[in-house]
């Protein structure tokens, strides 16, 4: 499903459909692709081009019937997709548009730079994804706004996303790819050692600020929600 191309020192990974369309295999394939980019010394940045989401969930019990199941470990485990992006050793840029929710929204939140189409709406990942990292949301949006997003479930449009600091750039749809390419090229002009220093600094700060702990905690929450006891009682109010 995913397609990777390299332009100069930037890897572009296009994900044309819902991230879970290929289930566990698709998520692991994407994770492996990102991880490979991190050890490719010729690359300086990775761009994840995320398509307009369809309603996504990350739990097997509420998965649309045509989506294969995805394990919690492949998403929220220590070597899962989320942490590979959040703690990447090279800058990760996410390009998003339209409806951005579930896993796609989390990747936008966890990545270094997000470029959004002007039609984007970010739907709160906390509504459906128990293993969402609230500390990242709090550090990005600030605490009160993150709580509002968590509790209200209201979507964030493009203009608000810029104001809240969720995205760094918004472009008209027709210009979106060019805008992303510009930003990627700008990063590509930074010396490799300089990028490494910046990312190490940022990642060390994330660790100290409790991001890693929240990945562990939210992973437990996700696991608890998947527990058969929970599944049996999910009809209770």
């Amino acid at each position: 499903m995913i397609e990777k191309n390299v332009a100069g020192s930037v890897a572009w990974i296009d994900i044309p459909g819902p991230l879970q369309a290929d289930g566990e295999r698709g998520i692991r394939s994407l994770t492996d692709e990102i991880r490979d980019c991190m050890v490719d010394d010729d690359l300086k940045a990775v761009v994840l081009v995320l398509a307009d989401s369809v309603p996504e969930t990350a739990r097997r019990d509420t998965m649309p019937n045509d989506f294969p199941p995805v394990t919690l470990r492949s998403l929220a485990g220590p070597t899962g997709l989320y942490e590979v992006v959040a703690y990447s050793s090279k800058p990760v840029i996410t390009q998003v548009q339209g409806t951005c929710q579930g896993i796609a929204c989390l990747l936008a939140l966890y990545s270094d730079i997000t470029v959004a189409g002007d039609d984007v709406t970010f739907h709160s990942p906390f509504s459906h994804v128990a293993d969402s990292n609230f500390v990242m949301a709090s550090l990005t949006l600030r605490h009160n706004r993150a709580k509002w997003w968590l509790l209200s479930g209201d979507p964030i449009d493009a203009r608000t996303a810029v104001r809240f600091g969720l995205v760094q750039s918004v472009a008209e749809l027709a210009d979106l790819r060019n805008r992303t390419a510009e930003i990627a090229a700008r990063i590509g002009r930074v010396p490799s050692d300089a990028l490494t220093i910046s990312k190490m600094n940022i990642n060390a700060c994330l660790d100290a600020l409790g991001v890693g702990q929240d990945f562990d905690t939210s992973g437990l929450l996700g696991a608890a929600r998947e527990h058969p006891h929970h599944l049996a009682s999910k009809g209770a109010t």
């Binding site: 809240f164 600091g165 060390a204 700060c205």
Partner: protein
């Protein structure tokens, strides 16, 4: 703290409980030198020990508060460090010592500002780059003239070699990432909007606004102010700022040993071969080419 005037800073007492530390006007020379950072730190220590002082205002008589670290001092930083005189490249221990001693450690300038028991107010005008940005982040209140421009140009060339923790706490994680990876700057209005500074005023009013803040705050009792300051210091530690400073020491030492690959713009080599002005101009051309960012060629300090 007694009033004094040196070639570096003017120290004054505009009010009984207010100390003012203002950079002297040196025309176009608006980069901050190590000597100035040491003098500023010593002045702050003097302020901290003065029971009469409740607030301290830091500012400048020049058009810009700080256009970055004086480029010649970026190398001289290691000369006095133990192990700094060894050969062409300073030892790692010299690099670590220098960044700890001058900036981030217990005797560093930024620690002196952050842990000052008096309320610290920065009245900025113009460029607030590099050390200026860190002084702004460590200050309690920042008022800026409309010309204010905040950022850290060297990060684009050498990596984020300073504290990121305070920046993340101030402006949010993604904006901090953009500053480190894209070389983002904020003008005064943007800086206020994102929470980096507290107020924007006309340039001519920046200093007097800073002093006005100091006057207002100085109306509070000393014990109350001291309690609030120590509470904010404790809050900084909860927000892992001390950890950020320790990380910055390591990153600063590592960044000073940066290697450039073929095809990458080597700012340090350009500086050694052609001097700072040419190096800065070429740096701007390299990074702004093909970018939609505003043309920075008229601002030679933008490169770092």
């Amino acid at each position: 703290m007694t009033e004094s005037k040196s070639h570096l800073w003017n120290l004054a007492r505009p009010g009984r409980h207010i100390a003012a530390i203002r950079r002297t006007n040196r025309g176009d020379s608006t980069r901050l030198g190590l000597d100035e950072m040491v003098a500023l730190r010593e002045s702050l220590i003097s302020v901290a020990d003065d029971d009469d002082v409740k607030t301290v205002v830091i500012g400048t008589e020049s058009k810009h508060f700080c256009s970055g670290l004086r480029i010649s001092d970026a190398a001289a930083l290691y000369d006095e460090a133990p192990g700094g005189e060894s050969g062409k490249y300073p030892s790692l221990r010299a690099r670590l010592w220098a960044h700890d001693h001058h900036f981030w450690g217990k005797d560093g300038l930024y620690t002196a500002i952050k842990r000052c028991p008096k309320v610290v107010i920065l009245a900025n005008v113009g460029n607030c780059y590099g050390p200026g940005l860190f002084i702004a982040l460590c200050s309690d209140i920042v008022v800026s003239g409309e010309s204010g421009h905040f950022g850290n140009p060297r990060w684009h060339h050498l990596g984020a070699d300073g504290d990121m923790m305070m920046l993340i706490n101030a402006v949010g994680l993604k904006r901090a990432r953009a500053a480190a990876l894209l070389g983002t700057f904020w003008d005064a209005q943007d800086a206020r909007r994102v929470g980096l500074i507290d107020e924007v005023v006309p340039d001519r009013d920046a200093w007097t606004s800073g002093v006005s803040y100091a006057e207002a705050i100085s109306g509070a009792v000393r014990d109350g102010l001291a309690a609030e300051k120590y509470l904010s210091i404790a809050a900084d530690e909860k927000a892992q700022v001390g950890t950020g400073f320790a990380i910055a020491t390591l990153m600063g030492a590592m960044a000073s040993n940066i290697h450039f690959r073929e095809g990458e713009f080597n700012l340090l080599r350009e500086y050694q071969r052609n001097g700072p002005e040419v190096a800065v101009r070429k740096a701007i051309q390299h990074f702004e080419s093909g970018s939609r960012n505003r043309d920075a060629s008229d601002d030679p300090d933008r490169a770092g």
